[in-house]
Every structure is written in C-alpha cells, then in structure tokens.
C-alpha cells in the first residue's frame, strides 16, 4: 500500500515536470535574450553600446636639417608616421590610440603615444583611463603633434628626448582622468583632474650625468604613491579667442625602499593662448605661451668619481610664440603663408650635472599647400647648455589630421 502511494507520487511529479518543461525551455530560450538586452542597454550606464564607428586619423612628417657648425652639415634627420585610431563603441564610450613610428638619431623607434578608454558620464564630466597625454600645460596635449606645431621643432624642454631633463610632465603617463567644460556666463571654463603613476627619479646609479632628473614615462610604478594633478582653463571672452590655464602636479618620485622613496616633486604650469582674425590686418594672429616650474626636494647623488653632491632641483622652462597668417588677402598664394616667431628658455638647476641655461630663437615660414599639408622652414639660433651656440636651418614636410 505504502509502495503504491510512493509510485503515485513519483508519477505525479513526473507529470508535473513534463507539463512544466515547455515553460522551463521557454525561460531558457528567453534568458540569453534577456541577458543580451540588459547588456546592450544597461540601465545604470547609458550609451555603452550601439553601432560601432571608427576612424583613422593621424599625421606623417619628414625633417631635414642644415647645421653649419656640425661636421655633417646636411642631414635628413627624422621621419615619422603616427596613425591614430578613434573607435566609438557607443554613444558615450570610445577608445583612442596613437602609435608612433619614427626615426631618430639613426634608430627606428615604435611606441604607443597614448591609449585610452573614455566614457562620457554626463554633459560636464568624462572619465578616461589608460596611457594618456598628460594634461599639464597646453603644449603636450594640444600643440605638440608635428602637424599642429607650426615650426619644425619644439620649444626647448617641451619635447620628450633621451638625455634631456623633463621639467614637469611633458610626456604621456599611465593613469585616470576626469574632465569637462562648461559656460560661466559668456565665459567658458574647462578642467582636467588626474591621478597617475607619476614621475620616477633617476638616482644616477646607471646614468650619473642625469642624476636627479625625472622620467614621467613610468609605466610600471616605482612606488605606491600616485601623482595628483590637473589643469583649469578659463576662456574669459565670449568668442573663445583667449584661453589661460593653470596646471599642477604633485608626486613622490623615488623608488620604493630607497633613500629617495619620499622625495617630493611639485610642478606648476601656466599657459596662454590667443587666436583672432583681424580684418584690418587681413590676417589671423595666434599667440601661445607656457611656463613650467619644477621643484624636487634636496637629495644626495654621486658624481662620476663617486663623490657625493647634493642639490634641490629647481628648474623652469618657458616659451612664447607669435604667428601671423594673411588668410584674408586676395592673392591665393600669399594667403597660404604663415609667419612664425618663437623664443624659448630652459633654466635647469645650476648644481645638477645637467644644469645650466639655454635659450633659442626660431623664425619660420609655413606654406600651407592645403589645410592638411604644410611645408615649413625655420632658422634657429641660440645658446645651448654650457655656452655652446646653436644655429641651424630646419625643413619639415608634414601632413595630418
């Protein structure tokens, strides 16, 4: 009797299961669709998906130099190609990456200039993470690209070069940033705040002559301290012709578990841009300037003989650049010319082995074959570190966007 009851229960359960099966199957069928829909359109984060779109932009250039004081007076010194891929993954999500291929001093170099994933949180905020052009001053982020820089060379101290001290973060860094722009009345403001690995101090053990310099391409952090920095830009005029900005960056720079671990670096920068068309002059005037200050705590280093010396790194660099393009004249050839003058100074810590003062004046002409192709010629003259005079004629053929 008991056995019969048990069999009946099992039978009922099987029947219930049989009738329930289509429902379960339906749910199983619907589940992936549901998951797909939820993934496609998450309620918390809008604009993460959609039709992906991408574009490749970038630039390419070729340089020539005539240096009357060098043993090799003429030289095709450098060619570079930098494809930039911008990939829009959703209405508010995109990825951008620039790879650089270039020759320098006879070597072929490849590097990732930047690689960053950004998400537009709302109309006032965008967050991005990856390897980024450091938003310190205006030059590195907006002007440095060879097709944007109107002269064939960069101002003193503002291009990342081996063996030359960085005065402030002028090269890309690994980190995260938050940025945006908004109106304040008829004026505008923009801001960037960032956290990055920060700079790494060169303690001079392998490169004695560079002891005390900072390297910002610190792709695997040398300590747990992070760099905090940012830039605030202000455009007081309603036509956006004037922008002034202030930047800062703080970080500890020494390797972990060394005497330099808590060495502090403070960098500040001020920049100004003025761009306006003057019908009376039939020209567009463009003025740019930037000053970087760097302070690194006093520390002991060893010279080539093994003797200890110490210094506090207080260095600064600055440049001003003025250009005029008679774009409103009727002559179709004349309107393609642009005349540029620039003065730059690098004032490095006197007590450092790499210390000293250098200044350079650049006078150039850029001829715009089209809005994307420029032929630039410049004459540069200046005093390098330790009183060495420099003089050269530079030519650059460049295209890009």
């Amino acid at each position: 009797m008991c056995m019969k009851k048990t069999n009946t229960r099992i039978l009922l359960l099987l029947l219930a299961g049989f009738y329930a099966m289509p429902t379960v199957a339906q749910e199983m069928e619907q589940e992936p669709k549901l998951v797909q829909t939820e993934t496609k359109e998450p309620k918390d984060f809008k604009g993460l998906s959609g039709i992906t779109k991408n574009v490749i932009i970038g630039y390419a250039y070729s340089d020539f130099i005539y240096d009357p004081h060098s043993e090799i007076k003429t030289n095709f010194t450098r060619v570079g190609f930098s494809p930039t891929m911008v990939w829009m993954l959703g209405e508010k999500l995109f990825f951008e990456s620039q790879v650089e291929f270039y020759t320098d001093s006879g070597n072929i170099n490849t590097k990732i200039e930047y690689l960053k994933l950004s998400y537009i949180i709302n109309k006032y905020m965008t967050v991005g993470m990856g390897k980024m052009l450091t938003p310190f001053g205006l030059y590195t982020e907006r002007i440095e690209a060879p097709f944007i820089e109107k002269l064939p060379n960069a101002p003193l101290g503002l291009r990342q070069m081996d063996g030359v001290p960085n005065i402030g973060p002028i090269s890309p860094e690994m980190g995260v940033d938050l940025r945006g722009g908004f109106y304040v009345g008829d004026s505008k403001m923009n801001y960037v705040l960032y956290v990055s690995n920060g700079a790494k101090l060169n303690d001079g053990l392998s490169e004695t002559h560079l002891a005390g310099t900072l390297n910002y391409e610190n792709f695997f952090d040398n300590n747990s301290n992070k760099s905090f920095g940012g830039r605030i830009g202000y455009l007081p005029l309603s036509n956006s012709s004037l922008e002034i900005g202030g930047s800062w960056s703080y970080s500890e720079v020494g390797d972990v578990k060394t005497a330099y671990e808590h060495l502090m670096s403070k960098a500040y920068s001020f920049d100004v841009t003025y761009h306006k068309t003057y019908p009376a002059l039939k020209s567009m005037i463009d003025f740019k300037g930037q000053v970087n200050f760097l302070e690194v705590d006093k520390a002991n280093y060893f010279d080539e003989k093994g003797d200890v010396y110490s210094f506090e790194n207080r260095s600064n660099i600055y440049y001003v650049r003025l250009s005029l393009r008679p774009a409103l004249v009727h002559n179709k050839y004349m309107k393609r010319f642009e005349f540029i003058g620039r003065y730059s100074v690098a004032d490095f810590a006197n007590d450092a082995l790499w210390g000293g003062y250098a200044q350079r004046t650049d006078l150039g002409i850029s001829y715009w074959l089209s809005l994307r192709i420029g032929l630039r010629i410049a004459y540069e003259k200046g005093d390098g570190l330790h009183g060495v005079s420099t003089e050269a004629i530079l030519v650059r053929f460049v295209t890009g966007f």
Binding site: V184, G185, S240, F293
Partner: protein, 89 residues
C-alpha cells in the same frame, strides 16, 4: 621671487573668474552661436581643420567625440559643430 610670480598669476586668474561670475547666465548671443562659428572659434585655436567633405557623417561623429573630450568642449558646442560638419559634407 617665484612665489610672488605664482601669487600674481593666481590672483589674476581668480580675479578674472570672479569678474565673470556676476553674469552667470549665458547670453542669447552666445547660446545662439551657429555650428560654423563654433567650429571656427574653437578648432582653429590649435589647428587648421580639414574640409568638411574630407570625412563622412559617421567619421565626423567619431572625430568630434574625440575632440570634445581632448579639448573639453561643452556638449552643446560639440553637437552644433557636428551638425555643421555633417550638413556641409
């Protein structure tokens, strides 16, 4: 000396900011700026822009998003510039 320079620059910066605060409301003239004007005012501050015909609508959408973030353009500015470029290509 450097501290004095920092202070002066910072004071100028803050003063200019405060001077603009009394008129916190954006004027109609600024609000009604066309995409063409915004394109001319903003893009040319750094570089000369290519012809709008050089890229198609989808490509401009990606490029404008890239530039909006790079230069901290406002949402309104970037939308108007995008519309201008898409209407002109």
């Amino acid at each position: 000396m450097k501290k004095l320079i920092y202070t002066i620059i910072f004071a100028c910066f803050v003063s200019m900011l405060f001077l603009s605060l009394p008129s916190c409301k954006t004027s109609a003239a600024v609000k009604e700026k066309s995409g063409a004007i915004l394109w001319s005012e903003n893009c040319s501050r750094c570089h000369y822009s290519p012809d709008p015909e050089d890229y198609n609508d989808a490509q401009w959408e990606v490029i404008v998003m890239h530039m909006r973030v790079r230069t901290s353009l406002t949402e309104d500015e970037s939308q108007k510039i995008l519309k201008f470029l898409q209407d002109s290509n």
